[in-house]
């Protein structure tokens, strides 16, 4: 009677078993890594905008403060998106013509808003409030990154819940004087440790990890 299986089948079956065992452990592990990667979190995602507005140019070049356009950041939940009007005070002096500025002109003419593409998106069950973060010494840079280096603005942070909690569980190291709020590339003075505690005290910063702080 001819052999039912070739010799190699022993190795084969062992290999199959081995692969099975590895996959059982490896696949979940890989998944866990994958969900933390930019393609999933949207980190570094820089969508094309209807207006080729360069934060780099305006912030670094012209040293315009964030609050000039995002004017409600200290008062309300939303930082506030500039109305088309906002561009005019400067742009009726400079760059009033030219293709880059055309969409804004069109918007002003037609009265139709500029359809900006949202960059930092939180799910609708997350209630984030800019004003309170800013007033407690969290700078723009802390979450939005070096906007002054972004020709096209991109999502700087992964914006996962874990990422939020990193800071909510231990806010001190991320604090800065409110005066430095809009500073890009803020360098804490030496003896940061003491400053942290001092800031935390002056701003009454709490370790806010209760669910309804964000989910309501």
């Amino acid at each position: 009677m001819p052999a039912l299986f070739p010799r190699s089948s022993n190795t084969l079956i062992r290999a199959v078993l081995g692969v099975g065992v590895i996959a059982a452990v490896g696949v979940p592990a890989l998944l866990m890594v994958w969900v933390r990667t930019p393609p999933v979190t949207g980190q570094h995602d820089a969508p094309r905008q209807p207006v080729e507005f360069s934060h780099q140019l305006h912030v670094k070049g012209f040293r315009i403060d964030c609050r000039y356009c995002h004017s409600t950041v200290e008062r309300t939940a939303s930082a506030g998106m500039p109305s088309s009007q906002t561009c005019i005070p400067c742009h009726n002096q400079v760059w009033r013509t030219g293709p880059l500025f055309a969409p804004v002109r069109r918007s002003l003419a037609s009265g139709q808003p500029i359809p900006w593409v949202r960059v930092n998106r939180l799910p609708d069950f997350v209630f984030f409030n800019h004003a309170i973060h800013v007033s407690k010494g969290v700078g723009c840079e802390t979450c939005h990154g070096r906007v002054d280096q972004m020709a096209r603005v991109q999502q700087a942070a992964p914006l996962t819940m874990g990422w939020c909690l990193d800071c909510h569980r231990n806010p001190e190291p991320r604090l800065r004087p409110v005066s430095q709020m809009t500073t890009m590339g803020y360098r804490p003075p030496s003896l940061q440790a003491q400053l942290d505690e001092q800031l935390a005290r002056t701003y009454h910063v709490q370790r806010l990890v209760t669910c309804t702080a964000c989910h309501r």
Partner: protein, 461 residues
């Protein structure tokens, strides 16, 4: 352990009452006989397969409908937030206990008679577990997030809550399933090898060959086989106790009247094994008949199973009594209301009394020795006990929930057609799997029977 010792007690004195095997056939013949069904399909099988197949499709339909629409398509409500899904879950898990009990416990206690039925029992366990596993998943409001019950480092930076019984539940059931599977498969190896050697046609031989994992029956094989087998048996035995104990915590950690009771873990284990035995009987009696295995599955087996049923029944009766007594003795008005008033005389009273008849009354027939060896009686009793045990879970879950603390929120529960389709469908699915098992796997452990015959020969010589 209460279960096992008690189970032993009645078995001891009548050891010689009926022979374990009617006649001692030689290995060759035994193997051929037990492998025959694998090569020759019967028309009966085809019909049953078609029936259960349709039933399984119904299950698939009902499940997809539920997942697509929301579990609002069931009858559940507030206060009765748990119903059929959990009842079926507990019921199937319970049934799943007998297999391992028979294989592991009886192996460790060297009950030789187990040889003829352990494979069927183990297969039954696996299929029951597969059904059971369906329900906790299905009854979630958002099943697609089931994995949040598993402890893993999530991007949300949060973990499951280990004070709740449910994550442990998932763990216990999974562990139990894996061990049972390995145990069953390990036991199969030698027989798969025999199948490989006898299979007509190269293809089948190759297939059986792959699953036989190159078993050649060498001494070394047998040695390692024995070690692993006993090892797994030792591993499986505590699981039999743990799984349903943990399942019972799903209820007893709640403060609901009728749930909040310390007797639940043992009480559930007993109930589980009880229903498991009933299911084994319901399965082996037709097999014995159809495949003419009267000489291998003998009066001895029936008699022992009947005695075990009786013993379990009395353990269960004890649990019932304690439960009700404590309800009264505690003086807790809510417990008293549920146990002494609502269950025996409330809206679901008739189910309560049917349950008591089936679980308490029916097994008493086994005091009569003739009943213990009568296949029809055992079969009927098995069916009734399975029904009774399902009702027991219904009573525990639905009556407690529907009439708890605030009369203002009392409300009754009524199942919808989807509930019925899922229940019926899962039974069909079980049947389907079991039919496949009968068709493609040696459903009686050939090698263990051989050992048994050899031992018996030696004994008689």
């Amino acid at each position: 352990m209460a279960a096992s010792t008690a189970a032993e007690a009645p078995a001891q004195p009548t050891r010689e009452a009926h022979p374990v095997l009617l006649r001692l056939v030689n290995d060759q013949e035994l193997t051929d006989r037990l492998l025959a069904p694998l090569w020759t399909p019967s028309p009966v099988w085809k019909i049953l397969f078609a029936v259960t197949g349709v039933g399984t499709l119904v299950l698939a339909g009902a499940v997809s409908y539920t997942v697509a629409t929301g579990i609002g398509v069931w009858g559940n409500n507030i206060p009765v937030a748990w119903a059929y899904a959990i009842i079926n879950f507990v019921w199937w898990i319970g049934i799943g206990h007998a297999g391992t009990f028979i294989s592991a416990f009886l192996l460790l206690f060297q009950q030789r008679w187990r040889a003829s039925i352990n494979r069927v029992a183990e297969a039954m366990t696996l299929f029951a577990l597969m059904n059971a596993a369906l329900f906790p998943l299905l009854h979630l409001g958002r099943p697609w997030f089931f994995y949040w019950l598993i402890p893993y480092p999530s991007t949300m930076g949060v973990w499951p809550q280990f004070r709740s019984a449910l994550p442990w539940d998932a763990a216990a059931v999974t562990a139990y399933f894996i061990v049972s599977l390995l145990f069953w498969y390990l036991g199969l190896l030698p027989d798969l090898a025999s199948a490989r050697d006898r299979a007509p046609g190269r293809l089948r031989r190759r297939i059986y060959g792959v699953f036989a994992l190159g078993w050649r029956g060498a001494g070394r094989h047998w040695h390692q086989y024995q070690t692993a087998y006993v090892l797994l048996a030792g591993l499986a035995t505590p699981l039999v106790i743990s799984v349903h104990s943990i399942v019972s915590l799903d209820f007893s950690i709640a403060q609901l009247p009728g749930w909040h009771s310390t007797i639940f873990p043992p009480y559930f284990v007993v109930g589980a094994i009880y229903s498991g035995f009933a299911m084994v009987l319901v399965l082996i009696i037709p097999i014995r008949r159809v495949f003419g295995l009267g000489d291998l599955i003998t009066a001895r087996h029936l008699d022992n199973m009947a005695k075990l049923l009786l013993a379990m029944a009395w353990l269960l009766i004890y649990s019932y009594i304690v439960e009700i007594f404590i309800a009264w003795y505690s003086g807790d008005p809510y417990e008293r209301y549920v146990h002494l008033l609502f269950r025996p005389s409330g809206s679901y009273a008739w189910l309560y009394w049917v349950m008591l008849f089936a679980n308490v009354g029916v097994p008493q027939i086994f005091w009569i020795s003739r009943a213990r060896i009568s296949a029809p009686v055992l079969f009927g009793a098995g069916i009734l006990i399975l029904l009774g045990m399902w009702l027991e879970r219904f009573i525990i879950i639905v009556t407690s929930l529907s009439h708890d603390f605030l009369p203002s929120s009392w409300a009754l529960y009524a199942p919808t057609w989807v509930d019925w389709c899922i229940l019926g469908g899962s039974v069909s699915f079980f049947g389907l799997l079991f039919l496949l098992f009968l068709r493609f796997v040696p459903f009686i452990s050939i090698n263990e029977l051989k050992q048994l015959t050899h031992e018996l020969r030696r004994g008689s010589a």
